[in-house]
């Protein structure tokens, strides 16, 4: 073990020794504030979440209100821009800012729900496969291999085109394509933890299997799970945009960032703001989520911290 990691252990000793004190949350906050990118990430993610929640009160216009008189107005600072439409209007005269504000709802909801679904399936399968091993493990892992062999976007494309691209279908599709990474993660952790003394001891005194799983195994996989989930929300938002590009994303009048971006791409060269702002919304949010996820990994996973 190197000096650096020894030091790490020391600082962990601090964390664990102070865990009982009520300042646990404060400690975390302090840890967070020490990482600039983590702080920025958290602030943006919180901001986007708030925007999504309060979209109705924040949006200056009805996002679907068509106004032929105000078609393709540039943002307020550009020539011909209007202060009524800060980020300009689209080809039907709809307010882009309002659309982006409303779009955050679906983009976040899809991202989070899909990840939650994938996580639930993945953790379940991973626990079962890792804990019971043998034939069950073998079957489940072959299933995992099969899903890994089909690219997510391809699978999503086929399913969405068959069942039609609704929000629910999208969530389900992304959920059932992404669970494999959680299953592999959890299985791996379970395999290593299973061999540890405390599990063996619990087993030897006759503790029931599901109790061992819930009490000893599950808590140990939570940290890496949170890290992967966070980053997964980011990938899901991108994936939704890509599916919109292929025409199988969320369909209007439901507004998603991917949808606005993809609709705006015909205007990239002529009315740049149609695509640029939703593009920025996606990029900034994903960036923030990645920052947050990286920070979480540094804090939760001692191996990755240097």
């Amino acid at each position: 073990m190197s000096v650096n990691s020894q030091l790490q252990n020391q600082s962990q000793t601090i964390t664990s020794s102070t865990k009982q004190t009520p300042s646990f949350f404060v400690r975390w906050l302090r840890l967070l504030l020490k990482s600039k990118t983590g702080t920025i990430g958290l602030i943006i993610v919180l901001a986007v979440t708030l925007v999504a929640i309060f979209a109705k009160s924040l949006a200056p216009h009805d996002p679907n209100l068509i106004n032929p008189a105000m078609m393709l107005k540039p943002p307020v600072w550009a020539d011909g821009g209007s202060s009524a439409h800060i980020l300009g209007t689209d080809n039907l005269g709809r307010d882009i800012l309002s659309r982006i504000i409303y779009g955050s709802q679906i983009s976040l909801a899809v991202g989070i729900s899909a990840v939650a679904l994938a996580g639930a399936i993945g953790v379940f399968v991973g626990l079962i496969a890792g804990y019971y091993g043998g034939l069950i493990d073998n079957i489940l892992m072959r299933l995992v291999d099969s899903f890994l062999a089909i690219p997510t976007i391809l699978f999503a494309l086929v399913i969405l085109s068959i069942f039609g691209p609704s929000v629910t279908t999208l969530i389900v599709v992304l959920g059932i394509t992404n669970w494999v990474q959680y299953a592999r993660l959890v299985r791996g952790e379970v395999l290593s933890i299973k061999e540890r003394e405390f599990v063996k001891a619990a087993k030897s005194i006759g503790v029931r299997n599901n109790k061992i799983i819930m009490k000893h195994l599950l808590p140990n996989v939570i940290s890496p799970f949170i890290v992967i989930s966070t980053l997964s929300v980011a990938t899901t938002i991108i994936l939704e945009a890509s599916l919109s590009f292929l025409g199988l994303g969320i369909q209007p009048p439901t507004i998603s960032w991917g949808g606005i971006l993809s609709d705006g791409r015909d205007y990239i060269a002529t009315s740049w703001w149609l695509a640029a702002f939703p593009g920025m919304a996606i990029t900034i949010t994903v960036l923030a989520i990645i920052f947050l996820g990286d920070w979480l990994r540094d804090v939760l996973d001692p191996r990755a911290n240097n």
């Binding site: 190197s2 990691s5 494309l157 399913i159 590009f245």
Partner: protein, 304 residues
């Protein structure tokens, strides 16, 4: 090694079975393509007639049986759209996609390996921040957007590269950059973190204690160890790369499997969908197998 290979190959069989079953189910629930084969103004009588003559009314198990029987002879059925056997059409398109995928992978490796190592050894330097920041930014950008931007910049404005299509090397540059840099962003992050972990290992300290130059410590002792996870990472990216070709091919009109597949999906040409999903999955499995073999060869600790 032989035993390992045999075990690994045996594992592929159930995987292929599962995939073929999933693919079949997809096609079964997809319903029949007849309506799409006829024009907008076709009458219901016309539709029913075509349905009858194509014989799409068999029950599930019979259709599955026929399907599996065909599969063993590498027959995925006839493409409704092309009126030809599906597999040759798919295979015909495979080289274009492989070309794009390989070029993107090379772009990704050429960017990611030096950048990942560099930012790991110079951790927290401005260059590291630039590299990590850049890779996160790239990761956060939808690929099609990047592609369209590259066309506008390098083709329309600067005129350096052709806009689209497949042909000589210059046609390959923009699509490979689009897809490759996207993959590189992910790879750089992974290589950096795996490199950081290795630079923290005891044997690196040992090497340094012997008075070896940092350059050799990094490139001999660390990199070779870091390469082991990188091989796995690269293989796991195969799926992402192939998935990414769907988007990139559409943006750049690259005549590969991706475009064929999208057309097939849109027209419910399920024979093509089946064949291409199967071929893609097979390819990904093959790459993972290859990675496993390389992994074993690279790491003397693993016994065959």
């Amino acid at each position: 090694m032989g035993k390992f290979l045999i075990r690994r190959l045996l594992q592929i069989i159930p995987v292929l079975f599962i995939i073929s079953f999933v693919v079949f189910c997809l096609v079964f629930v997809a319903g029949d393509p007849v309506a799409l084969m006829l024009p907008e103004d076709a009458s219901p009588e016309d539709i029913e007639q075509l349905r009858e003559s194509l014989g799409l009314n068999e029950p599930f198990h019979i259709q599955y049986f026929t399907y599996m029987l065909g599969l063993f002879q590498l027959d995925f059925g006839e493409s409704f759209r092309y009126g030809q056997s599906a597999l040759p059409i798919v295979l015909e398109r495979l080289p274009a996609t492989l070309e794009l995928a390989a070029a993107s992978m090379i772009v990704a490796i050429v960017i990611a390996i030096p950048l990942g190592i560099w930012s790991a050894t110079k951790k927290n330097s401005p260059l590291d921040l630039l590299a990590t920041g850049g890779s996160v930014l790239w990761k956060a950008m939808p690929n099609f957007w990047l592609g369209i931007m590259l066309i506008l910049l390098f083709s329309v404005t600067l005129g350096w590269f052709p806009v689209s299509g497949r042909g000589n090397f210059s046609h390959l540059v923009l699509p490979a950059l689009t897809l490759g840099t996207g993959i590189a962003a992910e790879m750089t992050r992974l290589i950096r973190s795996s490199m950081l972990e290795i630079l923290n290992q005891d044997y690196i300290r040992t090497a340094k204690s012997k008075g070896i130059r940092d350059f050799y410590v990094v490139n001999k002792h660390a990199f070779r160890n870091a390469l082991i996870p990188v091989v796995t990472i690269t293989a796991l990216q195969t799926s992402t790369v192939v998935g990414g070709t769907l988007i990139t091919e559409t943006v750049f009109s690259w005549p590969g499997l991706g475009q064929l597949l999208i057309q097939a999906v849109n027209t419910r040409d399920m024979a093509i969908v089946q064949a291409s999903v199967f071929i893609i999955a097979f390819f990904v499995i093959l790459m993972n197998l290859l990675a496993d073999i390389i992994y074993k060869l690279l790491d003397p600790r693993i016994k065959y």
